[in-house]
Each structure stands twice: as C-alpha cells, then as structure tokens.
Symmetry: C2
Subunit: 335 residues, 2 copies
Amino acid sequence: MHELRKDPLLNRWVAVMADSKAPGEYNLPDDVKESGCKLCSGRESETPSEIAAIRGNGSRPNEPGWQARVIPSANPILQIEGELGRKGIGMYDKMNSIGANEIIIETPEHNKKPEDMGFEQVVKIVTLYKERTADLERDSRMRYILIYKNSGKEAGAIYSHPHSQIIATPIIPKRVKEELDGAKQYYAFKERCIFCDIMREELRYGHRVIFETKNFVAFCPYAQRFSFEFWIVPKRHSCAFQDITYDETEDFGLILSSLMKRLGAILKNPPYNYIIHTAPNRIPRRDHWHTLGEDFHWHMEVMPRLTRVSGFEWGSGFYVVTTSPEDAAKYLREV
Amino acid sequence: MHELRKDPLLNRWVAVMADSKAPGEYNLPDDVKESGCKLCSGRESETPSEIAAIRGNGSRPNEPGWQARVIPSANPILQIEGELGRKGIGMYDKMNSIGANEIIIETPEHNKKPEDMGFEQVVKIVTLYKERTADLERDSRMRYILIYKNSGKEAGAIYSHPHSQIIATPIIPKRVKEELDGAKQYYAFKERCIFCDIMREELRYGHRVIFETKNFVAFCPYAQRFSFEFWIVPKRHSCAFQDITYDETEDFGLILSSLMKRLGAILKNPPYNYIIHTAPNRIPRRDHWHTLGEDFHWHMEVMPRLTRVSGFEWGSGFYVVTTSPEDAAKYLREV
C-alpha cells in the first residue's frame, strides 16, 4: 500500500508510492503516450465502473449516451478502503494512503473542449463537481476535497481528453492550511473576510478585473504567481463550494466557459491548471475549522503555465511575473 | 522599474516586471533559443563586466584564462541601485525591486560539466559561492541570499552552458521563512537542532543514506517532494553556508561532484535544480533571526525534475513520490 509521510520541518505531507519506479522508467520530458483514449465515448467497458454521470434520457450507466462522467482513477494515489493507521516511526510520522481519486470526463468526444460546446456543458461539469464534493464530504476519514484540472502535458496532464480530477485527502493539505491561516489572521485583525475585501478593492480599482456576472467576479490577483493567472470569486460570502445554489452554478458555468475561451484565444490554448479552494470538510467534523464559515470564502484559481518553475521559485517560494496583472486583465477583457 | 508585491493572504512576495510581455511573446514549451553562447570563454567582452573569477596565473579580468567566473545577470529581476521604498497601496503592499542577480559560469567550455572535470573544479565553484555570499551579506538592504542552479530547460535553465545563480533579496522569502519557523519550533520543543537530529536518525537507520564524507552526509529525505531528491548536510552544526572552512569547502566539492555524477549516470542527465538554504543575513542586522545560530543548519537540496508539477501540487502543496527515498538512495549508492 502507498504511504503518506510527513516532513518534520515543514509539516508537509507527501505520498510515497508502494512500487518504486526504477530510474529507467521515467519517460523524460516530452512523451505523454496514449494508445487510444479510454475516456472517449464507446469505451466505457474499459474504464472502472462510473461513480456518477450526466446522461441523456434512456441511456444506462457505463454505456454511451453520457455528457459528462465520473470514474475512479485507474492508478489512485489514495485508496478508499482501510484505516488511517497514523503512527510514528523514529522521529517521523506516517499514515496509510487513504482517500479518493476520481476523474471527471468533461466531454464524450476527445477533441471537443467543454467551453467550445456552450456554457451548458461547463454547467454540467460544475454540477458534477458539486455532487461529488458533497458526497465525499460525508466520509469522516476525509479532511479535504480538492478539485483540479490539468490541461496540456506541460501542466501535468496525463490524458489529452478533457478531464478534471477530484482528490479527497485524510489531512488538510499544507497549501490550503496556509490560506486558511492567512484568512483567519486577517479576520482576527479586521473582523472582515479577506476575500470579500479583495473583491471590493478590485471592483473599486477596476484595472485588474476581467469581468463580472451577477454572482461572480473574475480578476487577475495583485500579487499573482503566474503571468495571466486569474481568480473567480463568488460575490456571496460562502466558505464551501458545494453550497453553491442552482442559479450560481449556471452563472459559474457561464463565467468559467467565457474565461477559458478568452485564455485559449489570446495565448493559443496554453497549458494550464485550475483548482477550487473550499473550506475543509464540515461533516461530521465539529472542530476549530468549523468557525471558517466567516473567515474563508471559496474560489477558483486558474494558472496558465507559460514559463517553467526554476530553482529560484523552489528555493524561495518567490515568483516572477513577466506580464503585469493589470496588463493581463486588459488582454483578457478586450479579446 | 520592476516592483515587488506582497500577497495579502499568503504573505508571499512576487516580482512584477516593468515591461509586460504581450501574450504572443511567450515561447511556449519547447524552445530555449541560443544563438551562440556568450558564457563561453573568448566572449567575455559580450557579457557584463565580471564581479569575481578564479583565474590562471597572469590572466586578466574580462579576458580568457578563467576557470570559473561571476557576472551580473543581463536581465536582472532585482537591481542593485536604489532605495527599498516600501509602501501600502490600497489594501496591498509593495516595494522597489532592489537586490542582486549574479550568474556563476561554472566552466569555460560549453560542453563540459564541472563534475566531469574533477572535484577541484566543483571546489572552485563552491569557493565563488562562498565569496559572493559573504560579500552580498554586507549590504544592509539585503535580507537573504539564495544560491541555486537550474540544469536543463525542463528545470527552468535559460542557458545550456553550465551555470548557477545567486540572488539577494530585500525580504526573507516565504519558503525560507517556513524552514526557519519549522526549525525554530522544533528547537523550542526539543532544544536540539532538527537538522542535527535528522542527520543522526538517517545515519542510524542507514537505508536513505547515499554516502558520507568526513564533513558531510548525503541522504534522500524521508518525506521528499521529488523522486531521487537528496540533501547534503554538513556534520558540523553551522547556520551559515559562508562560514564553511577551507577543509569543508574541499570536502563539499568532493561530495557534490560525486553525487552529480551518480545522478547523471542513473537518470541519464536529468533536468534538475539545486539550492543552498542558509540563514538570513546577519550583518549588520541584529534582530530576532540572529538567534538562528542554534536552531538553523545550512544544507543543499538537490531536486531532479522527472515529472511535471500539476494542479494537485499547486492546489495542495502535497507531493507524490514515485520512487521511494529508500530505493532512490540504493540506486544512488550502488551505481
């Protein structure tokens, strides 16, 4: 079984795979091999059995007729069965690699990007994100649910078929904890949500805003890490993505599909990642994170991968932005 | 002038370049263009004037005859002239992009890796690292000096000529501050240096140790981020790299050149980064970081870049290791 290990210095967890790859098994840089795509419609029998799907009338699970589909990962990092088994080993900490890895297949056709199929397709994907998050949150072993998308091999994608992923982890990941802590600290100081304040500041200033809809604002953050990075933040204060309403889901699909089309147009379909940061699981947990309702605010971060991360960033956590967020927002707004 | 901006949520600084690149100027993934290498011996007049060098008898600055050479970066992120000018702007913080960026040219010849030229060449490079760090530390505007190397375009290298870089920053970078805080916390709890404890634990257990010399231990860390990552830690407790003795410098050159040869052999010259983490600047500063003498311990982290970082890692700070550190150490030990 894979194992989770904790870095004693940085309190960061890593997953160490049970069967080590030999040095010769690393396919260096340029090769995502794909011999026929199993995520395409018509090859349902070759994937693990589906967990959820949005399907046309009359079509049956694990058969064609779906518009978007969720399957378990074929090579999961975390596995759903078992106990956490957290323990010390010498001066170190470890636990079993318990959790869930799911793949959201975003379209039945290999070469269709969801944003080019009309915003309704993106609404279906967001609906599946919501359903799966709400379902996984019920597992008391899970502390966090992360939705993310890798598009393009430079962004770490393992399939070229449009897909995104959900991972449920038995710990609150370090990067999330930093955001939670930062937001909590700001709230303690100001008694206001930092995301609400940032959103107001951005709308007042205007130059970093790409556009807004009834329920969402999209802007390039003031101190972005990646050139052309942007965030989508809901106007209604809410800590949990899965509490999104029906109206908001439609509106989120609209703004997300429009932004992805704009990004693809100005940067010629760049590799990118996006992630949704939501509060840690609330059910059935009732611990100190439960106060997060007021000080955290769910949002999506979209990160185009236009340059390579170097030793400078790895060593410092300090990033260099070659297109200012003000200019990036202008390009994305005016395209 | 470029500007430094602070993320209000994560307290991370980023550098925003003054002249924004347009979307069409991003050379996507595969192209490091190099029309003749200016770092090669014989083209000294085409580089900025050298800051330091190790030269054969009788050779003069900015002429051939050098064995290793330091020049200012031609496209610096941070510039050496000016005031910090730290100020607020709305709810945000910024300052001028003050600092230093230097390039260490590791060999006069383009196609010779320093580790293949005998460990004496690596000793020369380490000597320049030490000299430059000691010199830059005297600038009271600088808080931190980071030495790093990018080798291979997948690791962010902008030249294919062997080189490393030094950057001096007016803030303590986030990633470094996390390490300092982690080490301080451990020290408060145990009254021992965490790096000394880790080194003892690794030597006791043995399976993650690659090898040791008189003054250094090289091992794959228990919770590594990157497969085949390893650390080189000095046996003598010392917070500052630039306090390395003459004997230790020789020994460090020896262990580093041996390890880089091993890494190159088993993984066929993979892209990699390395960084040196040392204490923040002590001169002329006398603030709370000054207590670091006891709780921090300088070291080098070497990170092969065998897989691509995806939305999962960006969103979570959680890494997946596909070759266990025990197996990686065995490969590196036995090659």
